[in-house]
């Protein structure tokens, strides 16, 4: 078989079960592709020895007829996941040299299912960013290119998006706190799903904002999202927010039949300054779902405008608390101390050296909004607004809406460095369509459905009812089929 790295999970699974190809062959093809793609900056820690050993074991399982769907599938793993004995540093200097003594629940489940780890993927430092430029490793680069500029693959899961779009791996894990799976998926023409909060265990994933963080699959199509989500999710006693709910068969839900389903189009997502191309993408997607037999209704989510400001209180507040653990005592970097330096200087110097500027900024903003005298004015107010944002969605679903269609991002991928002089708020606006979903704890999926005038991929987002990833995936599957997005970046790296 040719082009093994271009296979979807489903195609690779079926070919391996038939005996047409082995995991070792696909894995080797991916490792070769990875070694030839250093210019993309996607893989930051390569693990070929682990990959080949896992592939061999997977091939034995497949031969024995005991093979779950993910068995033998070579994956990239975002650097935010703790992987035993393998560097896991959240793209931060402060975790330089850290090799966990344990395995995250998600990677553990994937490996138990026979999946193969090719290495760790680039990301924004502590998942704080929308362009992968805050990484200590340097930026990941988008395989899509239209002129001599390097474009961002988005962030924070930029390495994951770049690696999947460039066919360096069959799929990758991502995490999403405000849009970090869906925005990079849209920027690179791949599919990315953020599950319902609590669907996937957060245990062993470096925490950013615990009430918003959720891991999910980043794949080449919707079917692969369904297959990979199946292997990632389920109840985990080690995460107290993990839901003890049964997990349906997501792939079996992909019938493509959405007749009679009600799709909400939220008027507040028509924002000033949205490019005409995005507007058209959205109305085209709406027409595709209507043609498939869905009922289209206009809905209102009145507090949409306040989602980003609420997020930029809640996420930094939680981050300032979560990142307090990086103190130079138990793991990671410790600053060299001068004569007479005490423990306070050790903390302050270690954190100044270990955290990059964006992480420092968010930790300090979080510290401020939680400090005495401001806690009510900022933090509690933001949590009240969050209640209202969730209520908006509850009302829409109660009125009979099955899923909501929106753009995934306000633009196509932009150039590396183009936002360097902009104030931080400009970068934050990347998440304007995705962040509401994290605040409301809902499942959301980005599906590539078109290209802009330059030829760069654009994506739409579907938002589902809580715990109804099966329905969401089916509607996304129908949208994918109708859109027929098959474009691939031309190889330049």
């Amino acid at each position: 078989m040719s082009d093994l790295t271009k296979l979807t999970i489903a195609a690779a699974r079926d070919a391996m079960r038939k005996g047409d190809v082995t995991s070792a062959e696909i894995t080797q093809a991916c490792l070769t592709a990875i070694d030839g793609a250093d210019a993309l900056g996607a893989f930051v820690h390569k693990t070929p020895d682990i990959a080949l050993a896992q592939a061999q074991a997977a091939d034995a399982r497949i031969k024995a007829g005991d093979a779950p769907a993910m068995c033998g599938i070579p994956l990239g793993v975002k650097d935010l996941f703790c992987t035993k004995g393998v560097p896991s540093q959240a793209a931060s200097r402060i975790l330089e040299g850290f090799k966990p003594e344990y395995e995250s629940t998600v990677t553990g489940k994937l490996f138990d299912a026979g999946a193969v780890m090719l290495g760790k993927l680039n990301m924004d430092e502590f998942a704080m960013g929308s362009s992968n430029e805050t990484s200590v490793y340097g930026p990941a680069i988008n395989p899509w290119k239209v002129d001599d500029r390097h474009l961002t693959p988005g962030g924070s899961s930029g390495g994951s998006a770049s690696a999947v779009a460039a066919d360096l791996c069959l799929a990758a894990t991502g995490t999403d706190t405000g849009g970090s799976i869906r925005q990079p998926a849209a920027f690179t023409g791949i599919t990315g799903l953020k599950p319902t909060y609590g669907r996937v265990s957060r245990w062993g994933i470096v925490a950013f904002a615990s009430s918003l963080d959720q891991a999910g699959p980043m794949t080449k199509d919707v079917r692969d999202c369904a297959i990979m989500l199946q292997a990632m999710c389920g109840h985990d006693p080690k995460d107290s927010t993990s839901a003890d709910l049964s997990v349906p068969d997501f792939e079996a839900a992909l019938t493509g039949d959405i007749k009679g389903k009600t799709i909400g189009i939220p008027r507040e997502y028509r924002m000033d300054g949205t490019p005409a191309e995005i507007e058209k993408l959205w109305s085209d997607g709406t027409a595709m779902l209507r043609d498939a037999g869905a009922k289209i209704v206009d809905i209102s989510l009145p507090h949409t405008k306040y989602a980003l400001p609420a997020y930029y209180v809640i996420a930094p507040a939680e981050a300032s608390s979560n990142l307090a653990r990086y103190d130079g005592v138990r793991f990671g970097h410790r600053a060299k101390l001068g004569a007479g330096d005490g423990i306070t200087q050790m903390y302050e110097k270690t954190r100044a050296e270990g955290f990059g500027p964006e992480v420092q900024r968010r930790v300090m903003v979080g510290t401020y909004v939680l400090s005495a005298g401001f806690y009510d004015a900022y933090y509690n107010r933001a949590r009240r607004v969050r209640t209202l944002i969730k209520r908006d969605f509850d009302d829409a679903f109660a009125a009979g809406v099955d899923a909501i269609l929106t753009p995934a991002t306000p633009s196509a991928a932009f150039g590396i460095g183009e936002m360097a002089d902009a104030d931080p708020i400009k970068m934050y606006l990347n998440d304007v369509f995705t962040v509401t979903v994290n605040l409301a704890g809902l499942p959301g999926i980005a599906v590539p459905t078109g290209r802009d005038a330059q030829g760069l991929p654009l994506g739409l987002q579907l938002i589902g009812r809580p715990w109804d990833e099966a329905e969401l995936l089916n509607i996304a599957y129908r949208l994918e089929t109708a859109a027929g997005f098959v474009a691939k970046p031309a190889k330049w790296w």
């Binding site: 909060y197 609590g198 306040y306 138990r330 954190r351 300090m364 510290t367 909004v369 969730k390």
Partner: protein, 95 residues
């Protein structure tokens, strides 16, 4: 609410991040941009609205208060920048 360099210094100290004096004015101005953006929340009528504590209605699960793990001293210390005689070592805390 406008943040001056003194407030920026206080926040940096609370966050235990060393910030040089000459970097404080730029930091204060970044804080002001972000807090200015956040100020929009004051437009929302939140009277009688409960602050969200959990996005899903489920109650946090509880378990019996018993030891479930342990005896992993070597693993716990493995990544420490400075571990001695089975302990994490830090600069002298008490004179």
């Amino acid at each position: 609410m406008s943040i001056d360099t003194e407030t920026a210094r206080r926040v940096a100290t609370l966050a235990r991040i060393a910030v040089a004096d000459d970097a404080l004015p730029a930091l204060a101005s970044e804080f002001n941009a972000i807090l200015g953006f956040i100020e929009q929340l004051n437009e929302v009528d939140v009277d009688g609205v409960e602050p969200m504590t959990s996005v899903t209605p489920q109650r946090l699960l509880r378990r019996a208060d018993v030891v479930t793990d342990g005896n992993q001293q070597a693993a716990v210390l493995k990544n420490a920048p400075d571990a001695r005689e089975g302990f994490f070592a830090v600069p002298k805390v008490v004179e």
